[in-house]
Structure formats: C-alpha cells, structure tokens
Amino acid sequence: MMLLGAAAIAVPLALHFFYRARYRPLPWAAMTFLKQAIEQTSRRLRFQEILLLLLRCAVLLLLAFAIARPTFSGSTAAGRGESVDAVFVFDTSYSMGARDGEKSRIERAKEAALTAIENLPPRSTVQIFSCADRVAALGPISPGNLDQARQIVETIALSSLTTDLLPGITEAQNALERGAGTNKEVYIFTDMQKLGWDRQAAAIRAKCDEIKQRATLLLVRCGNPERPVRNVSVVDISSPGVEIPHSGTRIPFAVLIRNTGKEPVRNVAVALEVDGKSLEKEGEVIEVINPGETLPVTLTAKLDAAGPRVVTATITNDDLPGDNRLDKIIMVRDQLRIVIVDGSPNTRDPKEASSHYIRNAILPVSSGDLDNYFVRVTVVPADEAGPGLLGVCDVCILANVPASSADRPGIPGLSKEFVDRLGEYVKNGGGLLIGLGDNIVPARYNQVLGLTGANLLPFDLEDAIVATADKPFKIAPDTTDTPSYLERFKDEPFRTVMADVDVMKLIGIKTTGSPNGRVLMRMTDQKPFLSSRVIGEGEVILVAGSLDARWSNWPAKAGSYLSFARMTLQHLTGKAARGANRIAGETLIWNPTEATKPFAVRQPDGKRMKLGKATGGEGGKKLTVTAADTSLSGVYQIGVEDEEPLNGPRFAVAPDLRETDDLTSMTDGEVEQFLGFKPVFLQANSANEQGIANERSKREWTVWVLLALFFFVVGESFWAWYCGKAW
C-alpha cells in the first residue's frame, strides 16, 4: 500500500517532463532580451524548479506514508487499523504454573492472549504454539478462525519440561513465513525466566533479530515482578541406608527437598506413598526450609508386593506446583539371588575362601535366620560354575577366579560356556562384581574377559603392584566419581572408614584405550581402585584389589566393606528399575516379547496415546516400543492398545528440575541487552488491552507524517506562489 502510494511520486515527475509539451507557443520578436534574461536567471530558475519538484514529490510521498499508517518498529509493523498475522508462543514450562499473586502465570498468559485476540483488527490471523524445551503447534487449523484460537488458548496446559525459547521462536519465524499478510506480530507469553534465554543464547538472539526485521516482537511478561516465587522442589527419593527393597517390609526413604526460591518456605508438608495408596501415606511437616537449603526428609513406605512399585513423594505449601511431586519406580523383590564364584574355595577353613567376606557382608544375619532372609547366596567353585546358574541370578560375583583353568595350573578357572553366558547375562541387565586376587593372571583376564574376549572388563588389567609393609596403599574416598552410587563415600562416616583401609597389593588398571570404562574411586597415588562399565542394561564393577583379606585389611573394616557390598548390591539390583525412571522429555522404551498388536501409552493425565506396533525383531534385534511424548511428569503405562486397563510396564517420569534450579527472571533491561535491541514489553495484566492498543498507536507515526505533510503543502504552495503560482 505504502509502496503503491510512494509510486505516486512518479506523477509530479511525469508532469514535470510532460508539461514541457504543454507550453503555449508564442511568436516573439524580442528574443535577444529573452536570451539575456534566461542566461542571467537560468540557474536560479532551475533551482526553483527542482525545489518545487522536490516539494511536490515529498508531499505525495508523505501522503502515501500517511495512508500506509507507518509505524516505528519494523517495516511490517501494523498500525491500529490493518489486519495482523499474529503468532502466539506460550512458554509452557512448569515455572509458568507459579502462583505469584491471585492468578498463576499461565492464567495471566491466557488472559493476555485472549485480550490480544479481542484487539486484533478484522481479518487478522493467529497461530498458536506451546513451547517448553520443544515446540508444539496447537492451531487453529484455519489461522483466521479466531473463535477456535480462543478455545485453544483456554485449553493450553503446562508441561513438566524446562524453558528453552529457541524452538518456539524458530517455529514462530517459520509461521511468519507462511503468513500472507504484511503486518505481523509475534507474541511470546513467558515469565522471562533466565534459563529460557540462556540455554541457546546466540541462536535465540539471531532468530529474534530476524523476526524483528519482519515483525513486531512483543514479549508479554506473565510473572509478577513484585512477588518472588516461593518454591520447594522434590529433588529425589532415595534409600538413605543400604536397604534393598523387598516385599513385606517397610523401609525408609529419604525424600530430598530443596528450596530453590529466594524466600524461606514454612510449614512444608512432605508425604510419601506407594502405588497411590493414600491410606498408608506417611507425612511430615517441615517447619521452615531456607533459600538454597536441601533437606532430606526420611519417611517410610510399606512395600507389600514384589515387582516394580511407584513411590510418590509430594509436598505442599509453596507457589510452584510443577515440581511438588516426584514419582519413582523401585523394584521390590521377594528374593535377591546372588551367585558367588569362588576362585579359592576352602571348605576346611571357610575364612580362607575368597568368597567368605563378601558372602558375610551380603548376608548380615545369623545362620539361623538365613532361610528367612530375602537374600539367597549361592557359592560355587569355579569348576562348578555353569551357565545355568546365571539364569536364576540377580547379581554374580567373581571372587579371585582365574579366567580359565589354564591360567594357574591346578586351579580351576571359568569355563568358556560360563564366560559366554556371562556376557549375555550382563547385557540383559545382570550385575557383575569382579574381585581380583592371586589367582588372576592379568594377561589372561584381558584375553578372556577383556576386549578380545567377552568384553566385560571396564579396563585392561596390568601387573600386580605391591606396597611395602610400612607403607601400604591407601584408598582415597575423595576421588569418588560423582554422580555414582559410591558418592556417599565422600561424606562422613563412610569417608573416614574407607580412608582407613590398608591395601598391600592390587592389580594395575590400564585406563587408556577403553572409552566405556569409568573409574569410580582411586588410591591416594591415583591408581584406580574401583571401576565400572555399563554393558547393555547391566553393569560390571571391578575391584582392583581382592574381596578377601589376602591383599588388604578391607574386609576387617566393616563400616567400609559392608557399606561397599550393600551399596553395590543395591546399585546392581536397582538397575532393573532404572529404565523405568525417566525425566520429562526423555523417551520411554520398552522391549515387549511379542508384537502382533499395536501398543498405546496412558499418560499421567489419563489420556491414551497410540504408539503403533513395535519395531525391530529382525536379525536378533529386540522388539522396541517407544513413547516420545513425555512432557508431563507422573506415571505412564504402556500396553497393548486393545487392553483395558493397560497391562504393560509402568514408567515414572520426573519433572525436569533444571527448570526450578534457578527461577531468576530477566528484567526488561536485561532482555534488551541480551537481544541487542528493544522489543515491545507488555505486562500481562488487566491493563493489557490498553497496553496493546497503546503500543500499536505508539508505533504509528501517521500524525507526524500528516504534520510534516501539512508543512510541506504549505511550503509547496508558498514556493509555487513565489515562483509564479503555477506551472
């Protein structure tokens, strides 16, 4: 429109030249004087003509500008009257659920969006996107259907994801491309959480800059800047001791809560329940939790039946409900079956057997109670260890077992069949603890169990290293890798007892050349002591020393050795439930045994989503069902689509706690500095309508153009009069 109007400046230009042909012919005699006059005045005349021409061009140009209702920001920004292609991007990270006033942030966002829709000029369009760390197009199907847009806005739900504005901004830019109009506005309804801007800062900056070129960028602040959010998160549910969950027991759980806000929160009620059995819920009220403080709240839960159980911790009395609930699936067992393959059994003096200390550590009960204890330990010499043992085994321990019978003459080692089965066993989720000793020949171990063999070792072994009697090797618990199941050894009392262990001999570990291995703990001279490797769904823990008392006094340090044994068992057996505990946004993966029918998933909000048929299954690959949409935290269950209710595995999806680690919101000035330009800032509140209207009218400079036009017209008239009133 404006360009069309601007093209009108061709009119005076055309007239300027056209009028040359419109000169009245006049035969004239006194040509000499005329020529003299022209010579004297031609420069002045030309100047006057050009000035007049410019004035007239300027008048038309200004008129065209005025008709186009020009605006200050962006070449495509709309005035109040023209239709607008609006793109709404809703921040649906769960920090938008914060109630920092009478209304929550998302409620304010919705109200602001509805107001914005109400104030759109006729024939405007809207495209709505939700965006946390991923974007979803919500509609409407026809962008011009504003009624549908209103309904969509009213049904927008929060996710349990973190804020990352880039996907939303990128999609908004794409939506702008699709819009046919020239006046475009991009509204981002957000609480301006710093996290959302910082995660992909450079890309966001570039995208916003591109949007600015083609549209008006409106940032609608939905948070209450005067009221900081009081927030306490449920960070984790863990077992505070070394208990291994088994049926029929009530075991303690530590519910870890943290105040991520900037104000103390009082009277926080913490509750724990299993499988939603509220009657057995146990709770405790925390009087006050200060900003930044993390508190473990120990609550017990009764585990009735074996199998995967959902333990749910909830808290109340803060402003942000999105992280007030944490579900965790734990594997409750009737029995824990452990096979210890002993490389140096000794029936006459069991204390001399390599399996003695580790067995006793695993079975901390008197011999009379062994039958009632949930852990069943089977100790077999190496020559009796057959692959069949691994079929009914949760954890396998190799205690000073040669890799093969050929390693040490007269000492039986692992059979090839057992080694082959052991590889499969670990890949399928089994736990393997390897303790070394005098029976070990490092080269043979590397050959049989290392990379060229069963590929189970975290690292290749080197020669044994012996300490002097007066200067034993010391374990350095401070070197414990975090996060790991052993990280509690960094804290007292585990730290001291671990550091007290004297190790006289250990096998060297070659940490180079095996990218999958991980050193969990080192000696004080940095030699690796404990290492691990995840293989498939299982894991291997390697102790560079012995599990008996031959190479160290570790078994005698009960606080250290027992703790290590229990933590390792807990870790290796808990692995079975690990895939069932996910964070919002992560994909749920299940391997069904048969896949003749399509599958579905039930989401925490009760909705069922079709997943289709399982993939894979050919060439030995496992059948796999995946559910990618896990934006809500809570319990998901997968099953065959026809079943009601679904009978497949359950998954506990936790909210992405990065969202509430830092709830700092950026100020307008910080956002402006971040972007490198000033977008339009609006506060989502009752005055939003006026704010948008003001913004649109503020952007218009029609009045100024008209004023300039007036002055130019006056100037042109005066000049035309001065130059002779007309062409």
């Binding site: 009245r24 012919p25 006049l26 005699a29 040509m31 000499t32 005329l34 005349l45 006057q48």
Partner: protein, 297 residues
Amino acid sequence: MPSTLLQPDILARAEALGVMAKQVVEGLRVGDHKSPYRGFSVEFVQHREYVPGDDIRHIDWKSYGRSERYTIKQYEQETNFTAHIVADTSNSMRYGEGLQNKHEYAKLLAASLTYVIVKQRDAVSLRLFDSDWRAELPGSSQMRHVNVVCKTLEEAKPADKTGTGALLEQLAERVSRRGIVFVITDGFDDVEPMLKGLRHLRFRGHEVVLFHVLHRDEIEFPLDGNVRFIDLEGIGQLMTRPHMLRPAYLRAVQEYLKAMEKGCDVGRVEYVRLVTDKPMQAALGDYLVKRLQISPR
C-alpha cells in the same frame, strides 16, 4: 478606392500641423522649407563683399550709393524637401495583434507621413527593407504618389531578418541630396551597426528621425504561464516561464532602450518611441506638435 492606410482622423490632425523640417533641406521647388542655397529668393539674409566672378546683377546698388563699396545682397531660398521614409518589414515587425501589430502600425505611420508631406507639396520617397531592400519608390510630391506609396505598403509582407545598419549605410551613400530620413523600425537588430548607419545619414547632412516602434509586451513583458517563445526571425525557440524572467528581461530591455536613446542623442538623431497600443492619431499628433514647437520657423 482609398487606401485603408490613410485614415481621415489621423490625416486631418497631421495635415493641420504639417511637417516642418527642423533643418534646412534641399528642395526642388519653393516651399515652406529654408534652403541652404542663398540666392534670389524673397527673404534677405545678409550682404557680402563682391568678389570677381559674382553675377553683377546681384550687386546692391543702393548700398554702393551709401558706402561706395560693391556688396552682394544674399537671400535665403525657401525650398521643397524630400522625405525618405525607410520602413522595416522584417519578421520581427509581425508581433502584435490587430492595430497593435508593429508592422501594421509602421505601415500606417509611413502612409500618414507620406500623405501629410505630399500634401504640403514636399516629395516623399519610400524604402522598405528587411535584410535587404524590398521596395524602393523614388521621391515625388504629386498626390498620386500617395496612392503608389500606400499600395506598396499594403503589399508589403514581413519576411526575413533585419539588417538595419548596413542598409542605412547604403542609403546614406546613395542619397546625395540632403533631406529628412524617417526610419521606422522596432530596432531589434544589433544596436551599434544601426546607430552607425543613423550617424552616417546624419553625417551626410540629413535630418534623421528614428521611429522606434515597439509593442507594449516587448517593453513591459507582462506574460505568464508556460510559454514557448518562437523567434519570429527564425533563430529557434525558448521554453520558459516568463514571469520568472521578468526582472531580468526588463533590465535587458531598459539597457537597450537607453543605449538607443543615448546613441541617437549623441548622433543628433531624433528618437521617437512609439508603442503600438497608443493610437496613431495621438502618437503622430504628439510627434508633430513637438516637432513644431522646436522648429526654428
């Protein structure tokens, strides 16, 4: 059929006033004009001493009786004069509408002068010119000569450029007998050659009157709007907005007119500016009155 150039009202006034030669002119007949040839005319001028060779019939014997010296009695001879009317018929004279057309105005002026001069028994010769002589009628004082002059004037059509200076020079060389030369032109020519021609005529003893015929537009330039000026003498055209040029134009015209007046004054050429919006009766009348007032008669 009487010529349209001889308008009774004009002629009535002009005839009454007559044309008085301001200077002594040569004449073939006895008329109202003083002749430089002193001889036997009726008006005594002076005595002079007899010198051998003088006709003894002119000796004043009465004076001899009183002074015993031979003196010759001299008389001033009244004689007819020849008026040479030289009119410009170049294209530049075409400007103007109707009676205000410079060419028409010049023709009317020439015819009127002719009539008046012949009526008082003086001779009139007519020459029309542009870049060259286009018509030449020898001097005659007979009344039928008026008709010939009028017919010639009526047949004259403006053409070609002006070449006033050179032609006046030619005229000065060709006309040996002194008379009165009326030059009727708009003067849109090179000023200096034109003045030189006029001075040459003056030098040859003629009384020279320059009728400078101009249109009011040419003096005051009251034009407006977009105008494409087409040169009447064919040297091109100019497109301009005349109101923008007026001050500069008026300056140029005034300079020109001053140069003309000053040049004529220095060369003792009578300069008479005639603007065509002034009726001929009034214009010619005013001129003749003025001429009569300063006549030595």
